[in-house]
Amino acid sequence: MSKTPPDLRRPGVSRRGFLQGSSVVAGSLGIAASAQAQAQGETEPDSAARTIRLNVNGTSRQLTVEPRTTLVEALRDTLGLTGTKIGCNQGQCGACTILMDGIRVNSCLTLAVMAEGVEIVTVEGLADPTGDLHPMQTAFSENDAFQCGYCTPGQILSAIACIDEGHAGDAAEIREYMSGNLCRCGAYPNIVAAIEQVRDSQQG
């Protein structure tokens, strides 16, 4: 994974907005997309299904979706990438967290049609093709940073972004910046330990 901070300079989206947390990010993207659509003169809402291309885990995938189809449902139900989980479908729990151009986003609050032209990374895209796990996946395993595992894909992607954003300075900062990802099993101290382990190995 790249440690370089993602390029945040995109129309209608402030860096500050991105850094406030993933649900805010999704909202900002929504504003950006609709502003763009209006600029292109598309004023009438069109409910017909359309064909889009999504770049998911380095592969371009073509799919047909309705405008109302959320990104998480397109990933899971249309592309079969069921590693991304739905925990509330209303942007409250973080289970559906994915990366869009390196930024953590709640995919349940993002429409699939808004995700064209960005690089999407889901949990399926973290291990390298030979099967070697991403260091964050290994750290989560070793630290038992989950029990039921349902929030884990979202936690791992959020954790990777947390370090990339520079928000893993100490345990307190990690706790704060990982609080958008709920874990009902209560594995939080182990999640923090996993993130510290990866942060330290990247610094070393």
Partner: protein, 754 residues
């Protein structure tokens, strides 16, 4: 051979969980699958006068809309508290009757999840509304099974009044606990696929055998015609045990529409289509003599129940097991209100009752002038106070001493409000944790091959508890294999019977069946190799061959590894069914479990009382001006027999304590009283601990040996950690501020008011 039990083993399913390849029920997408969605009642009590489904049916993508009038072949089952497999005795969509807010009224099937949701929104219902009350009135309560003392709902020992009269100090305290909802991260889901009269159901479940038997029974099918598949469960905590209306509606809708249908229940609907922790009131009257010994112990628990079910989670059966006292009286009461049926939520008998008991014990210790830990020591007992049988093992005070040392209890200021740090008032509190060791019959199929692999198959579940891993560990230890060489298959209804993943039973009961299977393999292999002309065990009496973690040993020092011996077996493998039938399991209980029910024995048998114990300590800080409550440290020490896996056990106990903190400071299902409905039905406004809430949580696991509970010496720990946490935090708040809080959860407003 590396140690495989009582050590830290990384979960065998960790790779699947961190790569997104662990498949949960809603991840299964059969070909041609359609999507379901429910429309639920906006009123609490009354009836449907009309339902207009035309707008929903006109919605693009909607395939069908079913109501009580139009859903064919919809079946129901008896509720759990009436002895059946269902989550409720009242079933929606059988008629026009509405008995609780959020009751399903229509079921939409569509080509996409979005279309199904939109369709559900477009269903228009006209109601006739009656009055309703969501909260119980404890004054209008009744004793469960009144007059039938055999149920133990009222129990008296000695003379309570004499004990109170003779006490040097008494307390009379009433505590309340709110409605709570489990809120597992995985939303409830069910996918049904019919092929002729064969049905497959993918559904997160704590009891796949219950589901299979119940669904097959409802449709009059042989159990072999119904497959129930639940390989991974995204948290359950009691919410995924019974057969729910949403499951039976999905099964019926799939049959009606002639295609597989998947329903993912919305987070708000999760509050009313399954179960919850009922609100309760706990009254304790305790008396102690000048030396701090209890002279009187009375506990009356009143819990909410719906109009149509008696939800009995007898907490008094657990509290009365705690402390020595000559005069004891307990009473279990229910009070009705208009809700869906509650049920069991992590430590269903213990969480709310131990908040009350351990808070009252703290108050009484203060009155007697004793240190709270020493007060528990003065009342510790190795004999069950009302059943008069010994505890099979009880390490309560060992737990207190261990946690006290690590926590620094000796530095606790004796006086209330005596500890401060700048603008923070600091308090230390402690409380007892316990959980009964429940026993259920279990089977497990175990197969070992000469190539050095083993397979373990049973209808148990991994709800995050680490079951896949510990079952592999037990087999690996007995068979002398690395853990990775054992493949465990669970979570399917047609596997050998294993208990419900509830009541903290799986490790102890199912694990013991795996253990027994390994011993049977050894016996069979010993019989073959002892009858051979050559080999280390040739000619040895097979009945005198023992299995010593992978090695067969004869009576005169002969030995051969099991794997080696297996190479001499013509088949090259042996397959057996291991069983666990604790002596306390009666034929009726065994039958109940094998029929898909819950035939639980214990925690008290005619010979022994079986409980796990622990002690928890909390440091609380309350800001002098903002009154915010923080819990920087939460420590627990626990003793629960053999620890199978110190890594996953630690996570379970830590997670339990985090849940306890949630009960203390966050969790409450708020109500809209005038409209008799749950209000904060989502996972943002129903507060649960988030990462930033949880600071230092330290768990110590003590060694304890118990040969009575089961061959592994294991007591369940899935629920132990939550018990006592809320009281420890409440007692710490009292130590810091002198405020005795009697209602969960504790809030800033409690600190501001007098």
């Amino acid at each position: 051979m590396a140690q495989t039990i009582n050590t830290e083993v990384t979960r065998t399913d960790a790779r699947r969980k961190v790569t997104g390849t662990a498949s949960y029920a809603a991840d299964m997408i059969p070909a041609g699958m359609l999507h379901g969605a429910m429309a639920c009642s906006a009123i609490a009590v009354g009836s449907v006068t009309s339902i207009d489904t035309s707008a929903a049916e006109a919605e693009p993508g909607v395939v069908a809309v079913y109501t009580h009038e139009t859903l064919p072949d919809y079946k129901t089952v008896k509720g759990f508290y009436a002895g059946g497999p269902g989550s409720s005795s009242f079933w929606p969509m059988e008629g026009t009757e509405i008995r609780y807010a959020g009751q399903p009224l229509a079921y939409v099937v569509a080509e996409s999840a979005a279309a199904a949701r939109r369709g559900a929104d477009l269903v228009s219902v006209e109601y006739s509304e009656s009055g309703a009350a969501i909260h119980m009135d404890p004054e209008e309560s009744f004793v469960v099974g009144a007059g039938e003392d055999s149920e133990g709902m009222i129990l008296t020992k000695g003379d309570l009044q004499a004990g109170l009269d003779g006490a040097s100090q008494t307390v009379d305290m009433t505590f309340t606990t709110p409605f709570q909802h489990h809120n597992p991260m995985e939303m409830f889901a069910a996918t049904a696929e019919w092929r002729g009269d064969r049905l497959t159901v993918w559904m997160p479940s704590q009891s796949v055998r219950t589901l299979r038997a119940g669904i097959a029974g409802a449709y009059g099918l042989p159990e072999t015609s119904v497959r129930v598949i639940s390989p991974f469960v995204g948290g359950a905590f009691g919410s995924k045990a019974g057969i729910t209306p949403y499951a039976m509606l999905t099964i019926a809708a799939s049959k009606a529409v002639g295609a597989p249908v998947r329903l993912i229940v919305t987070r708000p609907q999760m509050y009313t289509v399954a179960t919850f922790r009922p609100e309760t009131q706990q009254r304790f009257r305790l008396g102690a003599d000048a030396e701090g010994r209890l002279t009187a112990f009375e506990h009356v628990e009143t819990a909410q129940t719906p109009r149509f079910d008696d939800v009995v989670n007898p907490g008094t059966h657990i509290t009365r097991a705690m402390y020595a006292c000559p005069n004891i009286r307990t009473e279990q009461r229910l009070s009705r209100s208009d809700t869906n049926t509650g049920g069991f939520m992590r430590a269903p008998n213990e969480m709310q009752t131990f908040f009350g008991l351990e808070s009252a014990m703290d108050a009484l210790a203060l009155k007697v002038g004793m240190d709270p830990v020493e007060f528990r020591r003065a009342n510790d007992t190795m004999t069950h106070p009302t059943a008069d049988v010994p505890f099979s093992s009880r390490s309560l005070m060992e737990s207190y001493d261990a946690v006290a040392q690590g926590f620094g209890w000796s530095e606790r200021g004796r006086e209330i409000g005596s500890m401060t740090d700048g603008d923070w008032l600091v308090g230390y509190g402690c409380a007892t944790a316990t959980y009964p060791t429940n026993i259920l019959a279990s089977n497990a199929r175990v197969r070992m091959q000469a190539t050095g692999s083993a397979y373990v198959e049973l209808a148990a579940h991994d709800v995050g508890t680490g079951t896949y891993t510990i079952m592999a560990q037990v087999a690996a230890a007995r068979l002398g294999l690395p853990v990775e060489a054992v493949d465990v298959v669970m979570g399917e209804g047609d596997l050998p019977v294993a208990p419900i993943s509830g009541g903290s039973t799986t490790a102890a009961s199912a694990g013991s069946a795996v253990h027994d299977g390994c011993m049977k393999i050894a016996r069979q292999v010993a019989e073959v190799v002892s009858s051979m002309a050559e080999g280390p065990l040739a000619g040895v009496d097979p009945s005198r061959v023992t299995l010593d973690d992978g090695t067969l040993r004869g009576p005169d020092g002969q030995s051969q590894s099991l794997a080696e011996a297996l190479q001499m077996v013509p088949e090259g493998e042996v397959e057996v069914v291991g069983t666990f039938r604790h002596p306390a399991l009666t034929p009726e209980l065994i039958h109940a479990t094998f029929a898909g029910g819950y035939g639980t024995a214990g925690p008290v048998t005619p010979e022994m009382a079986m409980f796990a114990f622990g002690a928890e300590m909390a440091e609380v800080r309350i800001h002098r001006y903002t009154h915010e409550i923080r819990v920087p440290r939460l420590h627990g020490a626990f003793a629960a027999g053999t620890w199978l896996n110190r890594k996953t056990s630690h996570s379970q106990l830590m997670g339990g304590m985090v849940w306890g903190m949630g009960s203390a400071l966050h969790e409450v299902t708020e109500t809209d009283t005038p409209r008799a409905r749950f209000l904060n039905a989502n996972i943002a406004e129903y507060l649960i601990p988030v990462n930033a809430d949880v600071r230092e949580v330290r768990v110590e696991m003590l060694e304890e040996r118990d040969d009575y509970v089961n061959p592994l010496g294991v007591k369940g720990i899935g629920e132990l950690g939550i018990v006592g946490t809320a009281a420890a935090i409440g007692n710490a708040i009292h130590h810091a501020t002198g405020k005795r809080l009697t209602a969960l959860p504790f809030r800033i407003s409690d600190m501001v008011s007098a």
